[in-house]
Amino acid sequence: MSLLRPDLAVIAANVAPGSRVLDIGCGDGTLMQALRDDKRCDARGMELDPADVGLCVAKGLSVIQGDADRDLAFYPDRSVDYAILSQTLQTTMRPDLVLEQLLRIGRRAFVSFPNFAHWRVRLSLLWRGRMPVTRLLPIAWYETPNIHHLTVNDFRELVIRRGIAVEGAWFLSGDQQCSSAAANFRAEHAVFLLSRG
């Protein structure tokens, strides 16, 4: 197994073997490849960057160049066991609508995102008064693809409002997990497993 990014490792570890999976924003297909090779999953992907799509195709993966905001509508209801959106929610035009699409297409959805309330981000804003450029958010505000920054607590509130059930949650600081209680302050990444309940 290739060394997965910590949030992807959490997802890979918690996908049931043999599942049908749609990885939205699949990048170069690292997670899909792990799911296919290690968990015998039928993994499909969607990716915006044509160069990444090309890399996926070369790995024998089925990936469609597409946009989470626009192209998820064409997938049939309940067509996969898991819809996965890793590090992509914050780049969409309407994260709330994308979330609804995930839970329409998949019986369950994994969503991972960087936590904008991590203490380093807070410090940067508090002391420097500048948009943070951190290890996890390495790109300056004017060129970042992240257009909808969110925090762990923001996401918790959204899923409650939308009546979405949280089946699991993992909070990561580097490759360490941290507690749910401290997550909004200490987690760099959050991974949620959601369902319609």
């Binding site: 039928d42 044509p50 799509v53 195709v57 070369a58 790995k59 192209d71 064409f74 067509s79």
Partner: protein, 371 residues
């Protein structure tokens, strides 16, 4: 040079049975001209069928016997190339209705006279029936992949849909599952140009030593514009004048683009039969894969187990990206493994034939299938 592709590698299959056609007739004494490259393995499961475009032919690698030019896809097909003839047995067949060796309107009918307009109207599916007859003759039950650009992509889709057990993958480049009103409109301009030429003689021109060359040339000029992009034309020709300092205030080819199109039109008449142009454009206009399957494109793939890859080009306005996406959505709805990418290339529709390294990578990657 071993296995020199310079030699005409054409082989001919004479069909033992009349070929049934969508129009209700059948085609007797059909011939399929084709060439092959690479070796068919013992399991007979490494064959790739390459389908050519409207005015293409089976000379995918070997030199064209009339123009002397290299095969039309040598950049893609050969030893170590994206469609690797060291690994795959590559077949390319001339479509029926054409004029490069397979039976078409210029071929002789049973009475010893050219078919002319007595040739039955054919469809893309009929062309594919010809290919399948060839696969039968070569004893290839299932292709590793069927590959095609433009009209070749239509054949690839038709084969994967209508003869689902005959291929395990389909690679469809710069193509569509149906001809749009705009596509039909451009073709009709071309056909009318041919039929308005008095030398066309209701298609019965073969004995006169001269065909509707002016009409065919105009048809090619109009079509050629649709294969290019506006940006490409501007970059290549702009408003530059042809071998002159000033406009002539006449109707010579003052502009380079005029001169270029006239040359393209004229050169085309040396290698292509006007009636074939009528029949093949008609077949393309009739192509609507959803219509063949109750109006729902996803149903066209209900029996398929193949994996698919579709590629479009951002400057292709003949078969734009939306056409490819339409197919992708149908394949998704049918639950089939499909990849799709829109590549950026400046050359418009013709990009699939030209130097686009990103296309090479996608073709090689898809056919390699992770191996």
């Amino acid at each position: 040079m071993p296995n020199s592709p310079l030699l005409d590698a054409t082989q001919v299959l004479n069909l033992a049975q009349p070929l049934p056609l969508d129009g209700g007739q059948s085609l007797p004494d059909g011939r399929i001209a084709y060439e092959t490259h690479g070796r068919l393995n013992a399991a007979r499961d490494n064959a790739i069928l390459i389908c050519h475009a409207l005015t293409g032919d089976h000379h995918v690698v070997s030199h064209h016997p009339k123009t002397g030019k290299p095969g039309w896809w040598v950049r893609m097909v050969g030893p170590g190339k994206p469609i690797d003839t060291d690994r795959f047995f590559v077949i390319c067949a001339n479509v029926i209705g054409s004029c490069m060796g397979s039976t078409g309107p210029a071929s002789l009918a049973a009475d010893g006279q050219p078919w002319g307009m007595r040739f039955p109207v054919i469809t893309v599916r009929d062309m594919v029936r010809g290919h399948v007859a060839l696969l039968d003759a070569l004893r290839i039950e299932s292709l590793y992949a069927v590959v095609g650009g433009s009209m070749g992509g239509m054949q690839a889709l038709s084969l994967a849909s209508n003869f689902a057990d005959r291929t395990r993958a389909a690679l469809v480049i710069a193509s569509t599952a149906r001809h749009s009103a705009q596509n039909i409109a451009f073709h009709e301009v071309g056909r009318q140009a041919i039929m308005a030429d008095p030398e066309w003689r209701e298609g019965d021109y073969y004995a006169h030593g001269k065909g509707p060359e002016k009409g065919l040339s105009v048809a090619r000029m109009a079509a050629h514009i649709t294969y290019l992009s506006e940006a490409g034309l501007t970059e290549k020709f702009g408003r530059r004048l042809q071998d002159r300092e000033e406009k002539t205030f006449g109707f010579d080819a003052d502009f380079q683009i005029e001169s270029y199109l006239r040359y393209q039109g004229l050169a085309f008449t040396d290698r292509f039969d006007a009636n074939s142009y009528l029949y093949i454009t008609r077949a393309m206009d009739y192509f609507d894969l959803a219509e063949e399957h109750g109006g729902l494109l996803a149903n066209a793939f209900a029996g398929s187990k193949a994996r698919y890859c579709l590629v479009s080009f951002d400057t292709d306005w003949l078969y734009p990206t939306a056409d490819s996406r339409n197919v992708v959505h149908a394949l998704n709805a049918a639950g089939l493994p499909v990849s799709f990418v829109e590549l950026s290339a400046p050359y418009g529709h013709d990009s699939f034939l030209l130097d686009v390294p990103a296309l090479d990578r996608v073709v090689e990657g898809f056919l390699g299938d992770g191996r």
